[in-house]
Structures are given as structure tokens and as C-alpha cells.
Symmetry: C2
Subunit: 343 residues, 2 copies
């Protein structure tokens, strides 16, 4: 059953700040989209109280679905999967599965979300493993989609190939790039470099007419716009993304230290600091954008655990965009097409 209206489920209890962040973001979202309905999953008493505090209870675009449990940020995915069947996260995913909503958004425990989403929603035909994808900032170009950012640790060549197809669909449908340039992240640009899986994935992509495959790309070219879609396994993607965060923090801290050291800088610190802060946010996509879980029979957007209201709102917007563009159906269609083409 497809709901007539645009309806999303939100995991209200997930993330470091729970309803303190998710309630304001939900209210901002229903202001922004007059046709959006949100089902708020979580502790009914807490959510009602919070909505009343904001003076918006009842609200015509919001409803509450009670859940008695919360998946904690430190919880093991396997434990959450077994024992948290009435958690706000699980209830939100179940709503997607039942077709009561078209997507769900959570800022909760990433590992648990991936495990639960995989279990509840199942994989699309033609996709072996799920992938987390996020849009990274780029120098003078559209954002760059990178996947997998940590859903699947070990990827064989077929999985990397499927990720490439899914990433291309996202770039086309969500950003609107026609014929997006797809690259494999590798430790060199030469054909002979890299692991056997990567070499084989490169071969598969070279042979596929439906994908604008441009070859290998190195870490220093992630942000240059050389590629629109960058494909890697979840281990490498996760390390690369978190390293970005580390470098941005290092630069911010070094900058603060050098300000303290120099008198002229102290005088003008008020001018420089906001710049650096903005730069930091701009290159810290993990904190800013949501990451989408691709390859499933439903739309799941993951917001950062430490997400602010703005970041959670941005994840809701992303879910809306994916619903409007019907991303899972497009992925399914494209994969079928590519596989027929290959056969």
C-alpha cells in the first residue's frame, strides 16, 4: 500500500540528543513542506510533552507512534536486532516495511540501523549488500557521492559494481547530473594498482555501457570534482570519511593555537574565526549531511549521531528528495537493465 500523502517516519529517540534535536527539526520540516506528514516514533509521553512545550500539540501534520525502547549509541547491532523490537528505530523501519510511510530517518546507532534495516526491509533484487552513501563537498563542482561509507566491510568485485550503479542513480536522480562520472577509489591511478577485487570491479565497469566509468581515483582527488561518484568498500570509505573529520579538527585546533600565539591574530581573531568555523563545517559532511542506506527495498536516511537540528532537518529533506525521485525503484530498474545488458 502506497500512502497518498508524503509520509515519513522519524526515529525521535536516536542520536546523542534525542527529542531535543529531533522535535525542532520535525517542526521545521512540516513548516517547509506543507504536504508532508511525519510519524514520530518514540516514547509517547516524552514526545507529547515536548510538542506541548513548543505549543504545537496536536499538530495536523504530526502523529506519534509509541515505542517503549531505545537503541543506545553503544549497543551492539546484533543485540539491538534481537532485543529491541519495540525501539523507536525498529518501529520506524517497520512502518517503512508495512508501506505506512515512504521513508524513515534516524540519528541513532549506525551499526544497529544497518542491521535492522537489512533485516526488516530486505535487499533489492540484484543487490548483495547495503551501502551507506553521502554527498561530500567538492571544489568548484557539484557535490560528490561516495559509497560505501561503512555498511559493508568486505566487498567483492560484484558488490563494488552494484555500488557503482547505485551511486550513479543517486547522482542522476538526486543531484540531477546526467551521465555522472563514476570512479573506483584506489591507491594509484595506474591499471596495475590495487587489490584483485578492485581490478575485477574496474573490468566489470569498463565493460558496462550504462555507466560512465572513468577509472581509478586517489584520495587527494576525492574533493576535486574529477568524479561525481566514488566507489570503495565500507572499510576504506569509513576510514577516509573519518580522516576528513580528523584533518578538519586538526586544522581548526592549529588555527586556534596560532591565533593565541600572535598579537595581530589575537586582534583580528574575531574576523578569522567564523571563516575557519564555516570551512570546518563545510568539509565535515559526516556532521552536516545525512547518509542514505542504499540497496534496500525502502528509503532509510541516517543523520549523524551528534546531529544538530539543522543536520537532522537536512536528513529529512534528503529523505523527501529520495521519495520524490523514487530512488529504490530507479536503482532496481537500472540494475535490471545493466544485468540484461551484461548477459
Amino acid at each position: 500500500m502506497q500512502p497518498l500523502k508524503l509520509t515519513l517516519a522519524l526515529d525521535m529517540m536516536g542520536g546523542d540528543h534525542g527529542p531535543h534535536t529531533t522535535i525542532p527539526a520535525a517542526l521545521a520540516a512540516v513548516c517547509e513542506y506543507s504536504d508532508l506528514h511525519l510519524i514520530l516514533c518514540g516514547d509517547e509521553a516524552i514526545l507529547t510533552e515536548q510538542l506541548k512545550l513548543h505549543g504545537v500539540f496536536p499538530h495536523p501534520q504530526l502523529s506519534i507512534r509509541h515505542s517503549s525502547q531505545v537503541v543506545s549509541m553503544a549497543e551492539k547491532p546484533s543485540v539491538a536486532l534481537r532485543s529491541k523490537r519495540d525501539s523507536s528505530m525498529r518501529v520506524a523501519l517497520d512502518l517503512v516495511e508495512k508501506g505506512e510511510v515512504q521513508a524513515c530517518v534516524s540519528a541513532g546507532n549506525t551499526g544497529a540501523l544497518i542491521a535492522m534495516a537489512h533485516f526488516v526491509l530486505k535487499m533489492l533484487n540484484g543487490v548483495d549488500r547495503p551501502a551507506l552513501i553521502s554527498a561530500l563537498p567538492a571544489i568548484e563542482s557539484n557535490p560528490v557521492y561516495m559509497l560505501d561509507l561503512g555498511a559493508t566491510v568486505n566487498c567483492d568485485a560484484d558488490t563494488l559494481f552494484q555500488f557503482a550503479v547505485m551511486g550513479a542513480v543517486m547522482a542522476e536522480e538526486v543531484i540531477g547530473i546526467s551521465q555522472p562520472k563514476v570512479a573506483l577509489l584506489n591507491m594509484g591511478e595506474e591499471e596495475i594498482k590495487g587489490s584483485d577485487q578492485i581490478k575485477r570491479a574496474s573490468m566489470l565497469l569498463s565493460e558496462c555501457n550504462d555507466i560512465n566509468y572513468i577509472g581509478y581515483i586517489e584520495g587527494n582527488d576525492i574533493f576535486t570534482g574529477k568524479a561525481d561518484v566514488i566507489v570503495c568498500d565500507g572499510f576504506v570509505g569509513n576510514v577516509a570519511l573519518k580522516t576528513c573529520e580528523g584533518v578538519a579538527k586538526l586544522i581548526l585546533r592549529r588555527f586556534e593555537t596560532s591565533i593565541k600565539d600572535k598579537v595581530t591574530a589575537q586582534l583580528f581573531g574575531w574576523l578569522i574565526k567564523p571563516f575557519i568555523k564555516n570551512l570546518y563545517l563545510g568539509v565535515n559532511p559526516d556532521h552536516y549531511n545525512g547518509a542514505s542506506l542504499l540497496g534496500l527495498r525502502g528509503i532509510v536516511v541516517k543523520s549523524h549521531g551528534n546531529a544538530t537540528k539543522e543536520a537532522f532537518l537536512s536528513a529529512i529533506r534528503q529523505a523527501v528528495r529520495e521519495v520524490e525521485r523514487q530512488v529504490p525503484a530507479k536503482i532496481k530498474g537500472r540494475l535490471e537493465h545493466v544485468l540484461i545488458d551484461k548477459a
Copy 2:
């Protein structure tokens, strides 16, 4: 035969700038170390001419070893290994092997250097594969050693364990940290995360009393000083290091763009720009520091292909330090000790 004096071989023709960079760096090095002798490997005519241009020919601390070939930056390692036996790179490595010098430094083709060094110098007993290690900057702490940065793509648990031992020796001997904290780079800090190799390497390290193993570390903690030595396979390390370079460039460019956009920033750009430039250099270790090739029966330091005079000089200094601290012998000794301990 161990030379009595401190003697290094330099690959003068390697890197993007060849003698234009390596000659000034060599001259600065012999000024800095009065007991240092350098054997300059490369085209004798070019090197003599360059030294004459600098007005220092002959120089008591410098000698030239002619070589007729150059390994180009784009050359395949296997081709260089087979067909460039009289290249400046190979001649410099041969001098290490023959004991005529105690170390060599090159800014040439990394893949070719690793392949040639492996072939010419051979592995130390107890080490399966070579590793590239470099000191990265850290927030309010000593630099952090990270390895492998690209010498060995696929590492099993034993190889990662050996890398951990080699990294610890470097941190102790070169930076002087007693009981350096050693961590494995992973996509989460929990015991259950990561590939099988990493989990098994973690077990091996936990059981080893000689290594101060602190567990897993994530990409965002590379620069925090949480660990003194960070161990990963060459693929992940290479991607992480190059991603750092990419982020630093992104920040620099974004900064330049925002300066253009804002009038106040335009006015004060003269003040802000040097800060950002310094920050960029400070977080761009690949360009700044040399990387050492560990696990071989000799000392090889790799300077960045695009190295400036300062960067190449810094690589020479690093080679001197490793000779003084007898790093390969210390690694050999420590590995023997650890292996006896394990048995």
C-alpha cells in the same frame, strides 16, 4: 663493511624537479652535518655542472657516482626493476647493499623504489613485507607514526603485527617516546568491528607484552595523539594519507573563495592567508616529511616526488637520524625478542 664516516647515497635524478631540488638540499645537508659525506648518484655531467654553478666543485663532503639512466615518475615498477639497472635510484640502493653508504634517500617513483629496494636489500628476518611509515602532525602531542602508507596492499594479521613492532621501534628510537601507544586503524572502536585480519592482529598484539597496544582507533582520531603509532594495511593508509591532502586543499580553496566573496575578508586577506598556508603545510605531511621504508636490511627514505629543497633536506635529516639510531638493527632485535616471547 661499515663505513667509518656517516655516508648517505642520494638519488639526485628522482622526483619532479631532479637536481634543481636535490643539489641545493645536498649542499644544505653538508653544511648542517660537518661529519656527513654524500654520494650523489646521477648523470655526472649534469651534477658536475650544477655543483660548479653553485661554486662548490669539488666539495670535500660530496662525491659523484655516475649513472646513465633515470627512473621516470610514471614508469611501472616491474619495468624499472628489469630495465633500469644503471638508474640513479638503483645505483643508490646498490651502494646501501654493498655497505658503501649507510642509507639512501630518493624523491623518485615510489612504486619503483619499493620494488627495487625490496629486490636489492631483501627483507629483515622475521619481516614478511615492507612498510612505508611517516610521521603525521598531531594536536598537542608528539607526531604520530602511521604505517603502512602504500608499500603492501594486502596485509594478513602477522604482517600487521610486524608493522606494529616496526612502528613502535621508530617511535622509541627516532622520536624518543618510551612505551609508545600502538593502535590498529579500524572502522570502529568496538572489538567486533573490522575485517578478520584486523581482529586477529588485535589478538596477537593484545597477547604481546612488548608492545603497548591500546586497541582500535578510528580515522577521526589519527591526529589527536590518542596513539603514537597507527597500523593499517597499505591500501587504507595510502587512501587516508591522500585524503588528508585532499581535505587540506579543499579547505585552502574554500578559504580563497570566501576571501573573494567578502569585503572585510578582502581587506584582511593579507593577514589570514599566511595562516592558512601554514596550516596547509602543517597538515600535509606527505609533502613535508620523508617516509621511511621499513622491514629491509638497510635504510631507505622516500621524499615526496614534488619535494622542495626543504622537504628533501628533511628526508636527508631523517635518514641521518635512522642511521644514528640504527633502526634496522633495532627492529631486527625487537622482532627476535617478541618472537621468542611469543614462542
